[in-house]
Symmetry: C2
Subunit: 203 residues, 2 copies
């Protein structure tokens, strides 16, 4: 239904998407505070007026860029989780895919480094509504229900795991390209062992 749309609307969507992409790159390279909307506009041969036509303000622009990246990574991670036989293995599979996404410089920087800056103190409230946070929450709940881990306060556990994901994402975003595989392996290993601490003691 979206294929046959008036030419005007097609053009508008195109510029909106271009602005979003340019903003993502700029935010990743120069940071949120360091990028002027003037520059983003120049990247797509437009003016700040165009940006303010499509987005309420600078923060909203960032939020849109963020959500696009986050939801895509979450989608892929959730898909990987669904292919695993047990909740425990689902969590590991999702972790693997998610960390792979964090290796992308734009993703890592925008989602983990700049998001707290852009969204300010409200970041952690906002985070709980994000796709990635909710995926973690679902995986935790599933593991508790299946007995893979002992019952824990879900919210607390999710927040802790989410922050660890953030640490891993930041490390990956900052690592040199050739170091990323090693860094990913280390975080995966320590991460896994820590979560394993929540498993029931072997009889």
């Amino acid at each position: 239904m979206s294929t046959t749309r008036s030419r005007r609307e097609q053009y508008a969507q195109a510029t909106r998407a271009a602005v979003l992409a340019a903003a993502g790159r700029r935010f990743a390279e120069r940071g949120f505070a360091g990028t002027a909307l003037e520059d983003v506009a120049a990247d797509v041969h437009a003016t700040r007026g165009a940006i303010y036509h499509h987005f309420a303000n600078k923060t909203a622009l960032f939020a849109a860029a963020f959500e696009e990246l986050d939801s895509e990574a979450t989608r892929a991670s959730a898909a990987a989780a669904r292919r695993a036989p047990t909740p425990w293995e689902a969590a590991l599979a999702a972790l693997e895919v998610f960390l792979e996404h964090c290796c992308d410089p734009v993703f890592g920087r925008v989602v983990w480094l700049e998001a707290p800056i852009a969204l300010g103190s409200a970041y952690w409230q906002a985070a709980e509504q994000d796709a990635s946070y909710r995926l973690v929450e679902q995986l935790v709940t599933a593991m508790i229900d299946s007995g893979d881990i002992e019952p824990q306060p879900v919210r607390t556990t999710t927040r802790l795991l989410f922050s660890m994901l953030g640490a891993a994402g930041i490390a990956l975003a900052q690592a040199a390209p050739e170091d990323k595989p090693l860094v990913k392996a280390e975080y995966t290993a320590v991460f896994t062992r820590m979560v394993a601490g929540l498993r029931p003691a072997p009889t």
Copy 2:
């Protein structure tokens, strides 16, 4: 040696300290971006010129306020750790004291919520030089050396634990005063179990 100092210098130190305290409160209440130096200056009946005389810029002012809070909490935590008989118990004791400090609204907000915003993308590089990070690093190393936990990549483990500390600190900073004890207990419990995942498997 610092007691007998010229009157001028005493006054200067007093205003500097007053600025630091006022900045801490403002940053905690309104956030880093939300507080204008004009307001901080007004709080101590001075002007922005006075602030710029004592601190290089807004970020430096924040960093000074941050470091004061952080070093004090770290000092107390390290002292608690030193009184414990084993590295494992030392880590638990330090965790307890540190989380107690996080219950202070100014501390929690400045150190955990606003610091990434104020220091920007360089936050995580800066964090590794902070007192609290280094304390975690020492505790991890001590636990590995004593065999309390199995050998792990120290840097990776420290970063993960530090981020978990941050999650707990933020949760405590945001919790209502009457909820803080419960929140603290939950985070302590889950945190401890996760770290316990790093312990050697029982023979």
